[in-house]
Structures are given as structure tokens and as C-alpha cells.
């Protein structure tokens, strides 16, 4: 009845397996919202936390010089923490263009 070649069998099994995984995950996401956090990558994997970042990490981004990185950290220490990324603009040396780059690298928690 199912006269499949070995390749066709592999593909059929792969598609069915994928659909099964999708169904199970879909159900789990609906039932438990914690699962959704496990399925989708958290922001920490893609961006640095501006309130926890250190000097070496800031400089490693190659978007700021050592001096500017120090100024950002001084500003953070002064205010205890950043409440929004927009506050970066208040640091001397960060204009619209640099802010545009930095907001892609950092997040606030």
C-alpha cells in the first residue's frame, strides 16, 4: 500500500515527527505560559543588560570608546540604574546615531 522509497520514508517520518512536536508544544504553550518562555529565546541571549554590564563588555561591543564606556558606567552609578534606554542620550557623547546603535545591543531589566 505505502510503496515508499527509503528517502520518501525518511521525509514522511521527519514531517510527521515535526508535526507531532509542533502539536505537543502548541498544546503545552496554551496550557502553561512558562513553556512559552522556554520555547522562545530570552532577550538575555541577544542583548546585554545595561544595568549589569561591565567596562570590558561595553568596550567589547566596539560601539563606544573606553572613555565613553566609563562615562556610561559613571552615569549608571550616579543614578543607581538606568530606568530606560532613552537615558543613554543624557550621557555626554551619545547622540541620536550612536544611540541607534546602542539600543540594538542593550536591554533594561
Amino acid at each position: 500500500m505505502l510503496n515508499f522509497t527509503p528517502e520518501e520514508r525518511k521525509i514522511t517520518l521527519f514531517l510527521l515527527g515535526l508535526a507531532l512536536c509542533g502539536l505537543v508544544l502548541n498544546n503545552l504553550v496554551k496550557v502553561n505560559c512558562r513553556i512559552e518562555r522556554m520555547v522562545y529565546p530570552p532577550v538575555q541571549l541577544a542583548k546585554l543588560n545595561l544595568n549589569k554590564v561591565n567596562l570590558a563588555e561595553l568596550v567589547a561591543t566596539k560601539c563606544v570608546s573606553v572613555k565613553l564606556a566609563q562615562r556610561i558606567l559613571e552615569y549608571r552609578d550616579l543614578r543607581k540604574e538606568f530606568s530606560s534606554l532613552e537615558e543613554l542620550k543624557e550621557v555626554k557623547g551619545i547622540g541620536e546615531q550612536r544611540y541607534g546603535k546602542l539600543k540594538e545591543l542593550f536591554f533594561i531589566e
Binding site: E7, E8, C21, L25, Y40, L48, K101
Partner: protein, 470 residues
């Protein structure tokens, strides 16, 4: 001589390297090459004369093609612009690449046809990199008139890397566009219809991916399936460089293999003949190469795939070294400067290292005697990763100043996962095109696998002595 093409390619590459090191005049080498050619024609019946002559010719042709590649034609736009020039220029030309929005700028390459300065207009050729401060809907082949300053691409500190990289692509000038008034769009389309179609398809497929996945997994899948790396966050790219697994974020031979396999299978189901199947698969591979941007790894994989398909078509035994050499020659004949491109070097050396070291290492550890299938598979994966790591170690250390000791372990764990993600990615894209409801179902496992990959990578680089900078 078992593989003449390999020997010729080695001598051709030596010629390219010599051209970068020596300053012997182009015409002097031409005279020597002509003399050798005449000797081979006259006394070529003697085996040793023929062999020495042909190898010397390959070397000298390599030398000449590299020297020739650095010579700009008289109408090249670089010759109209002096160093530190602040004049205002009008450029007329067409877009030669698909415009990409990256780092808050829209970037594209303009193939210039006319340049105007001080009301004097000249016909010219060459390409200019355009950097726009705002987003505008532009496409490959659009005819534009741009007004602005022309300057050399920036160099960062002492490093000339970016400038050299662009020079290897034949780009010596950059034009920043800050205002809408600096750009006038003409109506005519001046491009190749097939390339425009491929770019349109790429944009559409990217939209399909972003429809079913959040931005981060979508950016990773777009890189793995379509070769579009521009949306990958810096942190992800950096952590993959640290673990030595950044190669999974480019389209490689594996992706080309999947495309060939799927197309061949679909055509098989349609009961097409062997020859028709091979020809149609080859056409699809070329289209996939264009969709993914025809970067060095994709061209390598596509040419190798085409050589293998040709071997099947003519019922000949395919040889991996010959197909790899054909791919290298194909790229280097078009642009000899690519030999010094890090992407080109890594792409070819990693494959060469796997092909060369893997069978030797396999024989060394007597893997054939192993009876457990799982253990054998695991050991084979280790050896493939180790071979690639061994081959690329020096180049990575010299260029990136990093030695990642975790690479072998990371590759053993991450490469199978990346393989699965690529398969899921192709399934997601195809189902998104054919039956969107099913794509929703496939998107969740794909996202979960990408999350697992990122977490695994983040955990691996946190291991002690995972990597160190030189």
C-alpha cells in the same frame, strides 16, 4: 598525475600570492609567459618540458591575473575622485545589489554609468557603496541619480580591514546620502530579470520566516537558510565566534545538499527521467545560489554540487578534490583578490581539512572496528569537527586573535542541532509558501530548537578555558 586540475590550481594560487609579494612589471612577465608558451608548443612532445612549461604557465597566469585585477580602467570612477576631495558629485547608475537596512543605514552598491562634477559630465564605470541615513523602498536594478560627496571607505584605527575588504570587491569609494533630496529615481529598470526575481524571492522568504517566528529566531533561521546575517544580534554572533560555531550561521554545502536532495526527490515523485532531473536540480541550485547572495561558501558549494551532478549525468566517478578545485578556480578566475579574503580561505580550508584529515584520523583510531553504532557516530562527529578545527586553527588565530578550545566539543553538540534546525527551517519556509496553517505547527519546534542552540552555546562559552584571546 592523478589530479591535474589540483596541481594547476596550486600553481595558479602560488602565482596570485607571488603577485602580492613581488613588484615585477606586468609586461616583463607577459614576455616570459609567451616565451614559455612558445617553448611548450615547439618542444612540448618531451614530457618534462611539457610538464614544467604548463606548471610555469599556470603560475605566471596567476601572477598576471592578480596584477591585472588591481589595474583600474581609465573610465573607473576612482580615477575621477582625488584623495580628500570635498566636491559635490552627481552619479548616474543602477543598483547592483539588493539594498539592505543594517545598523540604521540603508546600504547598496551602485554601478555607476555617469559622473558629473562642476557641470562637466563624463561616462564612467565601477561601483560605489551607498550609505543612506533613511529608509526608502529601492530594489536591485533601479536606475538612480545621486548627489553627494565621494570619499574613501572608513578604516577603523590602524586596521585597514574594512577598506581592504571592499577593495577586494572592487569598491574604492563610498557616498553618504543624508537627505531625500540627494536621490532622484528614474523609471527604467536596468538589471537582469532573473537576479531581480531571485532577490524578490529572498525578501519574500524572509517575510515568510518573520511571519512565523519572533525576531531573534527569525534572524538566525534567515542566516541558516537564506544566508542573510544582517539581523543577527551582535551578542549572538560574538558568542558563536567564541565557541567556534559561527560557521553554522552561513549557507554552506549542507544547505545546498538539502536543496539538491529535496528538488531531486520532488522530481522523482513527478516521475521525471534521470537526465531531466539532474538538469532541473542544477538550475534550482543556481537559483538558490543567487537567492542566498552568491557569497564564497555558497558559490563553492554550488560549483561542487554542479560538478557532482555532471559526474552523475556523464556516469563518471565524482572526485571531491577535483570538484573543490573547480570551485576555487571558478571564484579566483572571476576575482583573483578573493584568495586573500578570510571567508574564502576558511570555506575552502575547512572542507579540504575534513576531506584530507578525516579518513587518516579514522584509520588511526581504528574506527571501523567499533561495533556500537551510536559510539561510532559520536566518534565520527568528533573526528570531523577536529579535522575542521585543525585546518582552520592557524587562520582563525592569525585573523581573529582567538583560540577556542571549546570548538570541538561545541561543534559536536551544536552542528547536529544546527542540521536539524536547517531541516526544520526549509520545512517551515516550504510549508509557509504552500500551506500556512501547517507552518504555524512547524514554527514551534523550530523556535524551541533555536532556543536550545543559543542556550547551549551560551553555556559552552562559560566553561573554564573555553577560549582565550591572543
Amino acid at each position: 598525475m592523478k589530479r591535474p586540475l589540483v596541481i594547476l590550481a596550486v600553481f595558479y594560487c602560488l602565482g596570485l600570492i607571488l603577485a602580492n609579494l613581488m613588484r615585477i612589471k606586468f609586461w616583463l612577465i607577459t614576455v616570459i609567459a609567451t616565451a614559455i608558451f612558445a617553448v611548450v608548443i615547439l618542444w612540448g612532445r618531451k614530457n618534462w618540458i611539457f610538464l614544467t612549461g604548463v606548471l610555469s604557465l599556470a603560475l605566471l597566469i596567476g601572477y598576471l591575473s592578480m596584477k591585472n585585477a588591481w589595474v583600474l580602467s581609465n573610465c573607473h570612477i576612482r580615477k575621477f575622485v582625488t584623495y580628500k576631495d570635498s566636491s559635490l558629485y552627481w552619479l548616474n547608475g543602477r543598483i547592483a545589489s539588493q539594498p539592505e537596512f543594517k545598523n540604521n543605514h540603508l546600504w547598496f552598491i551602485l554601478r555607476v554609468q555617469q559622473i558629473q562634477s562642476d557641470k562637466v559630465r563624463y561616462k564612467c564605470c565601477g561601483e560605489v557603496l551607498i550609505k543612506m541615513n533613511f529608509e526608502q523602498e529601492l530594489n536591485y536594478g533601479d536606475n538612480l541619480t545621486l548627489m553627494g560627496n565621494l570619499g574613501r571607505p572608513p578604516s577603523f584605527g590602524r586596521s585597514q580591514g574594512y577598506r581592504d575588504f571592499l577593495a577586494r570587491q572592487g569598491i574604492y569609494l563610498i557616498m553618504p546620502i543624508k537627505d531625500h533630496r540627494q536621490i532622484i529615481r528614474q523609471d527604467k529598470f536596468h538589471g537582469v530579470g532573473l537576479i531581480r526575481g531571485c532577490f524578490w524571492l529572498r525578501v519574500y522568504l524572509e517575510q515568510v520566516i518573520s511571519r512565523y517566528l519572533p525576531p531573534l529566531p527569525a534572524s538566525i533561521l534567515a542566516a541558516m537558510v537564506l544566508g542573510q546575517k544582517r539581523n543577527i544580534p551582535w551578542l549572538v554572533n560574538n558568542s558563536m565566534v567564541k565557541s567556534g560555531t559561527v560557521h553554522i550561521l552561513v549557507v554552506s554545502g549542507f544547505n545546498v545538499g538539502i536543496v539538491a536532495f529535496v528538488i531531486n526527490l520532488l522530481l522523482k515523485i513527478l516521475r521525471l527521467g534521470r537526465k531531466a532531473r539532474i538538469i532541473l536540480t542544477a538550475i534550482c541550485l543556481l537559483i538558490y545560489c543567487l537567492i542566498t547572495g552568491a557569497s564564497n561558501p555558497v558559490i563553492r558549494a554550488t560549483v561542487m554540487g554542479l560538478v557532482f551532478l555532471a559526474a552523475y549525468l556523464f556516469k563518471r566517478e565524482p572526485d571531491i578534490y577535483n570538484s573543490l578545485t573547480s570551485a576555487a578556480l571558478f571564484i579566483l578566475v572571476i576575482n583573483p583578490r578573493q584568495l586573500f579574503d578570510i571567508g574564502f580561505q576558511l570555506s575552502f580550508i575547512s572542507v579540504l581539512a575534513i576531506v584530507y584529515f578525516y579518513p587518516k584520523l579514522k584509520a588511526l583510531v581504528h574506527l571501523e572496528d567499533c561495533r556500537s553504532k551510536i559510539l561510532k557516530f559520536f566518534a565520527e562527529s568528533c573526528l570531523v569537527s577536529f579535522s575542521a578545527w585543525l585546518g582552520t586553527l592557524v587562520i582563525i588565530a592569525l585573523n581573529f586573535r582567538i583560540i577556542a578550545l571549546v570548538t570541538v566539543l561545541a561543534n559536536i553538540l551544536i552542528v547536529p542541532l544546527a542540521t536539524l534546525i536547517t531541516l526544520c527551517g526549509f520545512t517551515l519556509v516550504l510549508s509557509g509558501l504552500i500551506y500556512p496553517n501547517l507552518a504555524h505547527l512547524f514554527s514551534l519546534p523550530t523556535a524551541a530548537l533555536i532556543t536550545l542552540l543559543l542556550n547551549l552555546n551560551a553555556a559552552l562559552i562559560k566553561l573554564p578555558v573555553a577560549f582565550f584571546y591572543l
